[in-house]
């Protein structure tokens, strides 16, 4: 089922100081397609959990409406909404066995013992939990608890699955494994899902689309590729991955690209957020891995930017550089690959920096 949020506003007031309103969600409008997995990504306190709880019905918005499958559900309590939540803390009932935990939903629906057991077994099968039916929750590993929580959430075949940082209690390796698992289950059951995280790589790998939030506002909605390569604004570009912001001036336009004046020459920007005309100042967003570096040679070709290597760090697979370029405030970050064949550029050397049209994305100066 599709989920629609329309003009949602949510404030909290501190009980001790009711005058100090905290804005948790501001004017959020969002449409999620059937079967889609959408991730909310943003810094701590930006309102991700709150939005999720508004969808599930645990928080009532101050204004705005929530729609699930084309029906408005704003007035329904959480137990009447067809949503299932996977909690950050798993929230497994400690006094019930694994089987009873997973069977809790079907039991509430009045299924008989046999039906419940069959349903539980089926889900446990899909989740690789088969032998744990009689286990007590405190005898489970973190990953197993996670799976039990997920099994309990999907067994009712909810219309919407909600995940609140479901993997944050697991170690890095298990996290990578579980996020693929979650994606697999979500696709198997085809359940529309909202996934909250503040781990970028998690968001990039599990989602169909990402919603980047900041201070209660939606900053951008897009596919992982769009979010990374065509950020809508400074915040998104800065928040997702490592990035360079290069001040520049627009000088003209040719065949779908903008011509931009840099310190060392004129280059093309393949995409832009908003419209620019000649003479406008802008920022070019370009990722470190898109930069090409070459040692400056007397009389040799000039790059779009020229600078001096200030720092060079050898990682193994890559070499990372920080390059001071006159006119650019923070040093430019660059990454080169295959150091075995391509070699290093020593600290203190002058370098020429180039990048292609597709890698350059223009955003307005903020």
């Amino acid at each position: 089922m599709s989920v629609r949020l329309e003009a949602i506003h949510k404030y909290f007031s501190d009980p001790d100081q009711p005058d100090n309103r905290v804005t948790a969600v501001e004017d959020m409008t969002l449409e999620i397609q059937e079967g889609e997995m959408v991730t909310f990504l943003g810094p701590s306190g930006c309102g991700k959990t709150t939005t999720l709880r508004i969808v599930s019905g645990f928080e009532a918005p101050n204004s705005g409406t929530v729609w699930i499958g084309g029906k408005e559900v704003s007035h329904l309590p959480p137990n009447k909404r067809d949503t299932s939540m996977v909690f950050q803390s798993y929230a497994i009932f400690p006094h019930l066995s694994v089987g009873q935990n997973i069977g809790f939903g079907p039991e509430l629906r009045g299924m008989n013992k046999k039906q419940i057991k069959d349903a539980v077994m089926e889900v446990m099968e899909v989740m690789n939990l088969t032998d744990l039916y009689h286990r007590s929750p405190d005898q489970l590993s973190g990953g197993q608890q996670q799976r039990v929580a997920l099994a309990r959430a999907v067994i009712n075949r909810p219309k919407v699955l909600l995940f609140d940082e479901p993997l944050s209690n697991l170690d890095a390796k298990l996290r990578e494994q579980m996020r693929l698992e979650i994606r697999r289950i979500q696709k198997t059951f085809g359940i529309t899902s909202i996934y909250v995280t503040h781990d970028q790589s998690e968001a990039m790998t599990v989602s169909d689309r990402i919603v980047v939030m900041d201070k209660g506002r939606v900053m951008q909605v897009g596919t992982p590729f769009e979010i990374y390569s065509r950020p809508a604004n400074y915040f998104v570009a800065d928040f997702i991955g490592r990035v360079n912001f290069i001040p520049c001036t627009v000088v003209g336009a040719t065949d779908g690209a903008l011509n931009v004046q840099y310190q060392g020459g004129i280059g093309d920007a393949g995409s832009a957020e908003g419209s620019f005309s000649a003479g406008d100042s802008a920022l070019t967003v370009v990722r470190p891995e898109s930069l090409r570096l070459a040692k400056t040679e007397a009389g040799g070709p000039k790059g779009l930017l020229s600078g001096v290597v200030e720092k060079q760090v050898y990682i193994g697979a890559t070499v990372e550089y920080e390059i001071v370029v006159p006119g650019v405030e923070t040093p430019i970050q660059a990454v080169t690959f295959n150091p075995v064949e391509e070699g290093f550029i020593e600290t203190g050397s002058s370098v020429e920096i180039d990048f292609g049209m597709k890698a350059a994305h223009l955003i307005p100066v903020q």
Partner: protein
């Protein structure tokens, strides 16, 4: 400021609107608030109103004027306060002695010492006074039979204080044991590692960390002593009047309700003050970061000689307690205490199970009915207070805890004033006793319920709701089972208290509904120690059996629960 008020009002209205979507929850809240008002506040209010009437029922400050002019009543106030302070200090000291010895040394017989220190809690709260008279009174075993002294003066301050310390130090012991256990011994080890001498570590680390607990124990003991009724009724006599007994005599002896009420108000003030200090000041100072079971207990803190001195002191106190109980047990079987003690007989028990049996039956019925209700009500209130937001939440929290602070005598007087007239006439009924017990003995259940709920992640309950449970199902299937340990400790407390209650109950018993404690008191007053002792033995036996059953249910019936859940 007015903006603030407006905001508050707005929030309350919002909360109300949300509640109206859940009629059962709303109804529960309203019903609980109404009954708290009716069965806790209204009786207190009646006491206050009545204390401002003269003999003709007109408004007057006469009862209080009488109080200030009457030498006798002024000295009752002085005596009560004096006793309260003295017992609080001495009782906490003995409690600390036991708690410290048991948690911080490696003396033998710790289990036995622990049991002995708890036994007075499960007995009629005036067993100390009974034993004193039997041992040191006119025909006392020690004073007369052994030493030949006829008129040892046991009535008055010292005898009373002895009896009260014996009755109430276990409360301090339990509190302080909890506090000492929660202070990680590694703190002390660390201090000693830094080169502190034992005495210095005790003074600079252990004592300061325990101090809030000690202060809290003293305040609780102060309140308990002020409201104590059984011991002074037996031991105070007319030369050492105390407030609770004077109030009782005014009401049941002189039928002077206003003066009784005025005395009750005077009694209420110091109790409430101590309660506020305890709740809003001392409990805030508790060091919350030091909770958690100790990994290994430090037994290095005490040097060998000191350890044996502490052990000796504990043995001495334990010996006295054992002596008291041995005396009661002996008296229950002796033909006539003080005259013919070597002929053993069952006639006192025949009396208890014959003529006296209606009191046993009544007590069991009343305790049996009020205990589970108090237990459930306590859990519901704890749940509402911790998990729900509604107008009147703080009021509910506060009022339900208030009975900790209100002396039984006051609430007893309040009940007869409030419920012997319309709209609710209950005097002489079963209901007045049961209601009194229910509302007086919910606080322990509430407190432990609140403590557990604060540790239960709210998302566990949300998960249940999310899966389709309504509020009631989630409470029944998830919250209540998680609160079981608190529920059972609330049950145990309510049952023990209902079985041993006297100070309020003595106003409320009637020909139809009588209580064992009141019977015991009556036997003591008429000098029939054999019957009183037999009653006491039966009473303690019932409590012990009931506690065993509760424990059995808890460990056998809920074996699916994890041990760690049960220990909370």
């Amino acid at each position: 400021m007015s903006q603030r008020l407006k905001n508050k009002a707005k929030q309350q209205i919002l909360a109300l609107r949300r509640l109206s979507g859940d009629p059962i929850l709303l109804l529960t809240i309203v019903a609980i608030l109404a009954s708290l008002v009716l069965f806790i506040l209204y009786p207190l209010f009646e006491v206050l109103i009545t204390s401002f009437r003269d003999d003709m029922g007109r408004w007057s400050t006469a009862p209080f004027e009488r109080f200030f002019t009457s030498q006798h009543e002024r000295s009752a106030l002085r005596n009560s306060l004096l006793l309260g302070v003295a017992t609080a200090i001495a009782g906490s000291a003995v409690g600390f002695l036991f708690a410290f010895t048991i948690t911080r040394t490696s003396v033998p017989f710790k289990k036995a010492l622990n049991t002995i220190a708890i036994v007075p809690i499960v007995s009629p709260p005036f067993i100390g006074a009974m034993a004193i008279i039997m041992l040191f009174g006119r025909n006392g075993l020690i004073s007369y039979q052994l030493l030949g002294i006829r008129n040892l003066n046991i009535y008055g301050f010292w005898g009373l204080m002895f009896a009260q310390v014996l009755t109430f130090f276990p409360v301090a012991y339990i509190t302080l044991k909890g506090v000492l256990e929660s202070i990680s011994p590694t703190l002390e080890d660390a201090a000693m590692d830094l080169g502190g001498s034992r005495w210095k570590v005790f003074r600079r680390v252990t004592l300061p960390l325990t101090f809030p607990g000690i202060a809290s124990a003293m305040l609780v003991l102060f309140i308990e002593t002020l409201s104590d009724f059984g011991n002074p009724l037996i031991l105070a006599g007319s030369r050492f009047p105390v407030l609770s007994v004077q109030a009782y005599l005014q009401i049941t002896g002189m039928y002077n309700l206003p003066r009784g009420a005025a005395l009750a108000v005077v009694l209420l003030i110091p109790s409430i003050t101590a309660f506020f200090i305890q709740k809003y000041w001392v409990s805030r100072k508790q060091y919350v970061t030091i909770t958690g079971k100790p990994t290994s207990s430090s037994i290095k803190l005490v040097s060998r000689p000191v350890q044996w001195i502490l052990f000796g002191l504990c043995l001495f106190v334990a010996g006295i307690i054992l002596l008291v109980y041995a005396t009661i047990l002996w008296a229950a079987f002796a033909r006539v205490w003080g005259h013919d003690m070597t002929t053993l007989t069952l006639r006192h028990f025949q009396y208890v199970f014959g003529v006296g049996f209606s009191a046993v039956r009544d007590t069991l019925i009343i305790a049996g009915v009020s205990t589970p209700i108090a237990g459930i009500l306590g859990m519901v209130i704890a749940f509402l207070v911790v998990r729900k937001r509604f107008p009147g939440r703080q009021f509910m929290d506060f009022t339900s805890m208030l009975s900790f602070a209100v002396p039984g005598t006051v609430i007893g007087i309040g009940y007869i004033l409030a419920f012997n007239k319309p709209p609710l006439i209950l005097t002489g009924t079963f209901a007045i006793l049961a209601l009194n017990f229910i509302f007086r003995y919910i606080p322990v259940g509430i407190q432990s319920g609140i403590a557990i709920l604060r540790q239960v992640d709210p998302s566990i309950e949300e998960a249940a709701i999310d899966l389709g449970a309504d509020a009631r199902t989630s409470f029944r299937r998830i919250t209540l089972p998680l609160m079981l340990p608190a529920f059972f400790s609330g049950l145990t407390f309510a049952f023990v208290r209902a079985m041993t209650a006297i100070s309020a109950a003595i106003f409320l018993v009637s020909a139809n509904w009588n209580l064992m404690t009141v019977q015991i008191m009556a036997q003591v007053e008429s000098g029939r120690f054999g019957a009183a002792s037999a009653f006491s033995v039966v009473l303690v036996a019932i409590i012990l059996v009931a506690m065993m059953i509760i424990r059995l249910i808890l460990t056998k019936g809920f074996s699916g629960y994890k041990g760690k859940l049960l220990q909370v």
